[in-house]
């Protein structure tokens, strides 16, 4: 079985990980991913960018075409039996046996794990149900579950044992707002216990709220990875001036080196130049000297969403 985890090695570490599906689709292309232990790692990317494919390779469900992946320090997919009991996973939504109750679904998945102790099975199943707020519906047939309830049951299956790593592919998909909050709270709680959480999502708010680190994928390639703070910082803040005299304001701001000016009603926004940006107090004074009436003045911090769009492009269409 597993050796005690060394703290220094990454929870997930891939080198040149590549997957070309039968039929030729290059879904993941030379991925070098490093997920530090103890982090809550957000895995971002537009539809079809290769997130689920990466997770399938990490879980040993599909074999990489090239490159290698280590999970909890051991090579995948060869160490599947030793590694996966320490990993909980939710991949591409939950999958359940409709003719079994929620509880019996969990019993089934627990029986599949050869390291799971049958003597504690009942208690562990009960706790997992409790943790995701399904205790009351545990006896109901899974086919009668709503989408959110199925999602919760899928999460419960990932929590049947204490895990070192949780891999969650869009965990809040289909949940109501309370459910999303609960899941976020749960992720924080697990992270506080020392579990590394790797979570893919489209919800940038969510990533910004719970993740310490993030990586961005596009068209199968890794665009960037790092701490969430660093990623958001990479996007320069925008200057926002509220004024009833937009044309005048634009002229003055342009003279002071502000670029990319946009007028929207009585809001003028622009980017501060990257090299020696003007002092904001001086800028404000310059506006007032030019008789521009200033209602509001300030900068807007770059959000992860700006970073995401800047990195992956505005386009809505999925890349073939």
């Amino acid at each position: 079985m597993a050796q005690p985890a060394s703290v220094t090695e990454a929870a997930i570490d891939t080198r040149g990980l590549t997957k070309r599906y039968r039929g030729g689709q290059l879904a993941v292309d030379g991925l070098d991913l490093a997920v530090p232990r103890g982090s809550v790692f957000g895995f971002l990317g537009p539809n079809g960018s290769g997130k689920t494919t990466t997770i399938r390779m990490l879980m040993g469900l599909i074999a990489p075409t090239a490159g290698s992946a280590r999970v909890l320090g051991e090579p995948m997919p060869s160490a599947v039996r030793g590694v996966l009991p320490r990993v909980g996973a939710l991949i591409e939504g939950p999958a359940l046996y409709g003719h079994l109750s929620g509880r019996d679904n969990l019993v089934r998945y627990d029986c599949a794990d050869p390291t799971a102790d049958p003597r504690t099975r009942g208690a562990r199943v009960g706790q997992a149900l409790e943790r995701v707020g399904l205790a009351a519906a545990a006896g109901k047939k899974a086919r009668a579950y709503s989408l959110g309830m199925k999602q919760r049951l899928g999460l419960a299956a990932a929590l049947l044992q204490p895990r070192e790593l949780l891999v969650l592919d869009e965990p809040t998909n289909g949940l109501d707002p309370q459910g999303m909050r609960e899941i976020r709270a749960l992720v924080r709680e697990l992270a506080a216990e020392g579990t590394t959480v790797f979570l893919s999502s489209h919800l940038l708010d969510e990533i910004e709220q719970v993740c310490t680190h993030a990586a961005v994928m596009a068209r199968g390639r890794l665009i960037t990875q790092g701490t969430v703070g660093d990623l958001a910082e990479g996007v320069r803040g925008r200057l926002v001036v509220g004024t009833p005299d937009p044309p005048e304001a634009v002229r003055v701001l342009k003279e002071n080196g502000i670029v990319g000016l946009v007028v929207d009603g009585d809001l003028v926004t622009g980017e501060l130049p990257a090299q020696d940006p003007p002092d904001l107090a001086e800028l404000n004074a310059a506006l007032v000297r030019a008789d521009v009436r200033v209602r509001s003045f300030g900068t807007q911090r770059g959000s992860l969403e700006d970073a995401f769009v800047a990195l992956t492009g505005e386009g809505f269409d999925v890349d073939g």
Binding site: M1, Y21, R22, R56, M59, G60, L61, I62, A63, V80, R81, L84, P85, V87, A89, I91, E92, G93, A95, L96, Y97, G98, H99, L100, V107, R108, Y109, D110, C111, A112, D113, P114, T115, A116, D117, P118, R119, T120, A123, R124, Q127, E130, R131, V132, G133, G154, A157, Q161, P162, E182, L186, E189, E193
Partner: protein, 297 residues
């Protein structure tokens, strides 16, 4: 939501101490529970249980005017004996269900074994649990064999119940003309049930292999049942004489040789050998395929 302390307290028990075999048994037992709780499985059993009843009623109606039932229908010379001895309904029912109903039921269950899980997406969760691909396939294979035995048992018990309710019971006159006691006859009936179960191993192995090829449970079931019918037809075409000894249904009706005195073992042994061969070939093929395949469903 419960606290972390509670959770750890229950889960901290040592888990590595259990012997390997027992842990595989856990998955196998669960596999049985899941299979036998399916509505579909129960429906198949209901059909199998109904056939002896239908045969019994048909014989009763046909002989109610004093005539004897013709021997041309199901199986070698059993049916005409039913009116004398209800135990012969067991032999007749097995002879009637073995060519199609029993293997069809096995084809449905074995064909769905892996493909059905892939179709529902539950396969990926079993594999990340991690069930282990060989271990899962083994559990599925054992469950299919248990289903074979259960199906045969359902037919046997239903036939025995129907036979004893509708017809007299007593000493059994064998196909060879000699007579044995009823209890010995009952033993022979059980032996026949066992041989019929073994006869179904080939279909089960083929079904399991087909099941590893596709992500659609329905497609796997249809392919297996289609294959079954095709092979049955090939087995009746005289020009294919040369290959027929290698077709899995070829020796199926050899179980009748158990109802002779002395028992003719020759064909029965060939049947066992053939079923073993199918199990080895298709079992390995299923294993080779399933352990190397990309699971994307």
């Amino acid at each position: 939501m419960s606290t972390a302390e509670e959770r750890v307290a229950v889960t901290a028990a040592p888990v590595a101490a259990r012997p390997r075999g027992l842990r595989t048994l856990g998955l196998f037992r669960n596999e049985l529970v899941v299979t036998f709780r399916r509505w579909r499985t129960l429906a198949l059993f209901a059909i199998l249980a109904g056939i002896p009843v239908v045969v019994g009623i048909a014989v009763k109606i046909e002989t109610s005017d004093g005539g004897t039932a013709g021997g041309e229908g199901g199986g070698p010379a059993f049916i005409s004996q039913i009116t004398n001895n209800g135990l012969f309904l067991v032999f007749t029912s097995l002879a009637v269900t073995l060519p199609f109903f029993l293997p069809m039921a096995i084809g449905v269950v074995a064909g769905d074994a892996i493909a059905g899980e892939a179709n529902a997406g539950t396969l990926r969760y079993l594999l990340v649990a991690p069930a282990g691909r060989s271990r899962l396939l083994l559990a599925k294979g054992w469950a299919a064999l248990v289903f074979c035995a259960s199906g045969v048992l359902v037919v046997t018990v239903s036939a025995l119940a129907t036979g004893s309710a509708m017809f007299p019971l007593g000493d059994v006159t064998l196909l060879s003309g000699t007579s044995i006691s009823f209890s010995e006859g009952l033993l022979r009936a059980l032996a026949v049930a066992a041989v019929v179960t073994v006869s179904l191993i080939g279909v089960a192995a083929i079904g399991l292999f087909v099941s590893t090829l596709t992500n659609s449970g329905i497609a796997a079931m249809a392919t297996t049942v289609g294959l079954l019918i095709t092979v049955q037809i090939l087995d009746t075409i005289p020009q294919l004489h040369a290959i027929q000894p290698y077709l899995f249904p070829h020796y199926w009706l050899s179980f009748a040789d158990l109802v002779r005195d002395p028992v003719y073992w020759d064909q029965i042994m060939r049947n066992f050998g053939l079923q073993g061969l199918y199990l080895a070939v298709f079992g390995s093929a299923a294993w080779a395929r399933f352990t190397t395949r990309d699971i994307t469903a």
